[in-house]
Subunit: 137 residues, 2 copies
Amino acid sequence: MTVDKAALLEARGIKPSAQRVAIADYVLHTDEHPSADEVWARVKRVFPMVSRATVYNTLNLFVAKGLLRHLVLTEGRLVFDSNVDQHHHFIDEETGKIYDLPWDTLEVSRVEQLKGFEVRDYQVLVRGRKRPTRGAR
Amino acid sequence: MTVDKAALLEARGIKPSAQRVAIADYVLHTDEHPSADEVWARVKRVFPMVSRATVYNTLNLFVAKGLLRHLVLTEGRLVFDSNVDQHHHFIDEETGKIYDLPWDTLEVSRVEQLKGFEVRDYQVLVRGRKRPTRGAR
DNA sequence: TCTAATTTTAGACTATGTCTAAGAGGTGAC
DNA sequence: GTCACCTCTTAGACATAGTCTAAAATTAGA
Ligand SMILES: [Mn+2]
Ligand SMILES: [Mn+2]
Ligand SMILES: [Zn+2]
Ligand SMILES: [Zn+2]
């Protein structure tokens, strides 16, 4: 797994330092939409000496290289998303958790006809409450 | 205008102090989606002694009373929206400016059928570049 | 091995928002 | 009109998130 990550970073022109691989190992896998400080806390469990600056630098580097997106969806939290394909988001207003909604679960009409705006990207932002999942998880 | 604003505040159970009316005079009118500090800067032009805490308190009070919404759409900026009706937003990625898109310019299908989610509210978030408006403005 | 470039580090700094404690202002009882 | 009480405003402290800096550590190449 760690080897795969090193190769993936190199493919994007990123030198795979131990810190960067440790960060990649968590953040490129998760569907949790973590904040930078959540990534820091998590990575410290396996790499206690890693600094806050390195985590922030690395996350911004991953965004610049297209491995991550960052989203600003909830108050005071810049959040990282390992799903770089187009998709929508659901925000649970009680827990603050962010869930991915696959692109084709929703359909938006007339976006391309917006007068006076050159559209580069769009998504639907849904807020509400996630129903408890019975059974699995 | 100021008289109207005082009456509007009273109708929502807000005592119309001079500071609150001055803040309302700007923020309940504008379509600029200003941040709290932008509101502060603006209000100081007509009310130089108003404090930062009062502006923040007042904006949060207006939100609690339903006169304003706050949006978290762009990096590091909690922004206030005097349009409390349901509508979509367009974000100009060059300027950071936020534009309202009236509710019926776009249509979203299948939101209500989302499995496992209780939907309370949604909007489409469009990013891109606003085309220069020729003619007016 | 020596050198130069890159990366990491701790902590300072900035920006945005909240909280606190004191004072000012308004309102009603008398 | 005075007083007491309550609300509101104020300055500044505090909190949190993110960026920047300068020095140390690491890496890679000559
Ligand atoms: Mn963060
Ligand atoms: Mn602000
Ligand atoms: Zn996502
Ligand atoms: Zn709006």
